[in-house]
Amino acid sequence: MERKVFALRMNRVLCFITVLSILIFLGNKGIAKEVEIIGAGATFPYPIYSKMFDVYNKEYGVKVNYQAIGSGGGIRQLINKTVDFGGSDAIMSDKDLAEASAPILHIPTCAGAVVVTYNLSGNPQLRFTPDVIADIFLGKIGKWNDRRISAINPGTKLPDMNITVVHRSDGSGTTFIFSDYLSKVSAEWKEKVGAGTSLNWPTGLGGKGNPGVAGLVQQTPASIGYVELIYALQNKMPYGTVKNKKGNFVTATIASTSLAANTDLPDDMRVSLTDTDAAEGYPISGFTWILVYKEQNYGDRSEEKARELVKMLWWMTHEGQKHAEPLHYSPLSKRGVEKAEKLIRSISYKEKPLMR
């Protein structure tokens, strides 16, 4: 008798599971009509993208699922065609572009700044010069009260502690911008480490994503790291001013980033903004791009999906721009928007442009 009851109960459980599974499959059929755009990539713009996509979803009902796994991840997944678009602050190298089976467009969405943030008691406001930054991250300057740091920061008491360097453990566009800058200002850096999304760091701890680095610096006394401006601001972490090419110590702000972005923009928008010539420009700035395939008819992509993607890109570079400044990103300049428009218009499906 016990067994019968048990068997009955089991039957009921099985029924429940079957019904649930059927529901899920039905749900798939219905929800399959709802367009979901999947993107992955840089953590650099994650705060603004997550805001943008949330607003976009509320206004247009289209879900954009963006996972911040690092620019390297965005590039890789786009090449593998497992996502609809990639987010990257690293310019795709010619080698990567060659590995992709079809042309990929770099569509700029905004510009940001990479700041040097640190954890020192009292949160002193520090100044940095390019060579000092390079040598700290190369491991050549080991202590906070090193002569070279004190020399540019007279009047600030620096502790006699070892500098703990924090860098990215994942493939990062933020790293790309940072190392691109360091390669321009330090020959030793260029030779020893170079520029790229994943580097052979001479020293330091690795954090995952901008959040990881910010978290580690926040928790580790006497540490130093590099993050996108918004991460330092949101976590109330101090960051240093940096001496730019013209000799001015510049703070990273929307204004100084925009000044750095106000340079010659090539048609494909694959341009680096670091070590800017602008007198008041912040030297470690960079664009962040959305990477898409120029020809959207690949795999089993529908024209509708491609069209939604293009609409999203258009919105991001126009109405969506108003979300940049509250989050301390620098919106695209008029010229930037023009170039972006041209690129978006060139996206095609089966050779027919999707947006006129």
């Binding site: 390297g72 890789r76 480490v193 994943s198 580790t220 006394p221």
Partner: protein, 313 residues
């Protein structure tokens, strides 16, 4: 016995007529074929896993050869990869974790196998150990990150070492807690299986209980305990999440137990989704292949020993 069983069968209201008149009449041979098929599927699955890993690591294997295991640079920019930092990190954390955990699991096995074999205390401790094994690894990592790291950081400051907080030592501590259940439960079973006449003989010679444990029980159960340790090691080698969160993610050979490092598993977790360049990806997959082979060998050896001891693990 037979009568008893027929009654059981009848109680299930099963009889030839009603059962065989079911809609789908499964013939015996096709049913047996299904069973064979299931088993073969499993075999194929395993082979497929191995060969997938092998095939995808080929570019790296061809490029670096066996020296891959001895090279120390992991430079994605220059596309030079070597596995040594991660091998060292993996072995260091796992062995350190093992040593720490043995300090706990051995006494626990002895207590449960010898002294508190039955009763409330034994149930209690056994349940706790099983619950320990059930906690997901990401939660261990989370707790390690927030609870343990500040403590280690304070320790490091006191010792005058760089106050990372994360690193090999922290990862080993977290790992050791996670693998205690594995060696403890097997150790306990093996110790409780030691035949009592051996122990009684020793006792009758005037040995104290403690001496009996040391000189009789432990040597007898030695290989079983060893197997349990091997299984715990296998688990530690492959542990990913908890380690990734507290190891500091540095692709260098760690210089001290307080320095950051990376294990085979944690570097894969960190860098897999973004390995641009097929050599990079192939190298990561080769790391996965190495991990696969190492854990398999250790686990299989452990299981063979256990089976030989006749323990129902």
């Amino acid at each position: 016995m037979a009568d008893h069983s027929i009654a059981d069968v009848l109680a299930l209201k099963v009889d030839a007529k009603t059962v065989n008149q079911h809609k789908f009449v499964l013939s015996e041979s096709s049913f047996r074929k299904i069973l064979y098929l299931a088993a073969i599927c499993v075999l194929i699955l395993l082979m497929a896993i191995f060969f997938s890993l092998l095939f995808s690591s080929l570019p790296a294997i061809r490029n670096f050869g066996a020296r891959f295991l001895a090279r120390t640079t992991w430079d994605p920019v220059k596309a030079e990869f070597g596995a040594l930092p991660f091998l060292v990190g993996t072995l260091a954390t796992s062995f350190l974790a093992l040593i720490i955990s043995i300090l706990f699991s051995l006494p626990i096995s002895i207590f449960l196998g010898e002294y508190f074999r039955h009763g409330a205390a034994s149930m209690f401790i056994k349940s706790i150990i099983e619950l320990l094994a059930g906690i997901p690894s990401v939660i261990y990592g989370f707790c390690g990150l927030f609870l343990l790291t500040p403590v280690i950081r304070a320790l490091e400051t006191k010792l005058g070492v760089a106050p990372y907080g994360v690193g090999i030592f922290t990862a080993s501590l977290v790992l050791s807690v996670m693998i205690i259940p594995y060696s403890a439960s097997i150790g306990r079973e093996v110790i409780s299986l030691v035949p009592s006449d051996l122990k009684e003989a020793a006792l009758s010679f005037g040995a104290t209980r403690f001496e009996v444990i040391r000189k009789v029980t432990l040597p007898y159960a030695y290989s079983g305990i060893f197997a349990g340790i091997l299984l715990a090691l296998g688990r530690a080698l492959g542990e990913t999440m908890a380690v990734t969160m507290v190891i500091g993610n540095s692709n260098f050979i760690p210089t001290s137990i307080f320095s950051p490092g990376n294990t085979l598993a944690s570097v894969i977790a960190n860098e897999f989704t973004e390995a641009t360049g097929s050599l990079y990806l192939a190298s990561l997959i080769e790391l996965g292949l190495v991990l696969f082979i190492v854990t398999t060998v250790i686990n299989v050896i452990g299981k063979i020993i256990i089976r030989r001891m006749g323990v129902g693990a």
